[in-house]
Symmetry: C2
Subunit: 127 residues, 2 copies
């Protein structure tokens, strides 16, 4: 049976109050600053654990380390592939139609109700 460790709670608490889609490293640094005894291995293990439970979302980036997000309300992510900023946005993707398209064309049976869009943000466009 699953146990609720202090470290796991500290990690989740930080994500719940964070709006910055932090990396594992950033989660580690921040909770350490607050006095947590968690090791880096523990941070990674719990971020994976919480992702697999569907409690948080793991965002795989084109560049750089993965990022993590607690979805207070359902939303999608638009990622700048230049500066790696992750923006939140809401959009109704007509779940029924989308589900139909996916189940007709693929073997994916269960999927998240958020999507990922990749692009380039304002401040990176000129570069």
């Amino acid at each position: 049976m699953e146990k609720n460790s202090k470290q796991r709670q500290e990690i989740l608490d930080f994500l719940i109050e964070s709006y910055s889609h932090p990396t594992a490293e950033e989660v580690y640094n921040e909770i350490k600053k607050r006095g947590s005894t968690a090791s880096k291995g523990t941070v990674y293990r719990n971020l994976n654990f919480l992702s697999e439970k569907g409690i948080i979302e793991k965002i795989s980036m084109q560049n750089g380390p993965d990022r993590y997000d607690y979805l207070k309300t359902p939303h999608n992510h638009a990622i700048c592939v230049k500066c790696n900023t992750v923006y939140d946005f809401e959009y109704d993707f007509s779940p029924k139609k989308l589900k139909k398209a996916i189940t007709e064309k693929t073997d994916i049976e269960e999927f998240s109700n958020y999507i990922i869009v990749q692009g380039i943000c304002k401040k990176c466009l000129g570069k």
Copy 2:
């Protein structure tokens, strides 16, 4: 000025005829098998080069190495986060509405017209 090397062409040629969303490692092995002199560094450099030019798409996975795809026709990707299979599917995401939602809520100005959906496929559901 940009030069069209034999190695770059071999990498692109393989992706054009491939339907399997290969990893860099797989691209490397396959072109080597066909007699290419390309080194692994060259494969990575060119996959990034071609992605940045928008000629191919880099697919960042939740687990395991990145995958690459040449988009013969526009399509989206549904990824099984258990077995890492990448499925293609077509779907009309009402580009105008989507664009409105994204530009209103984020600083993303230019974005790809494909999306990524993550889920679990049939054969992984029971596990």
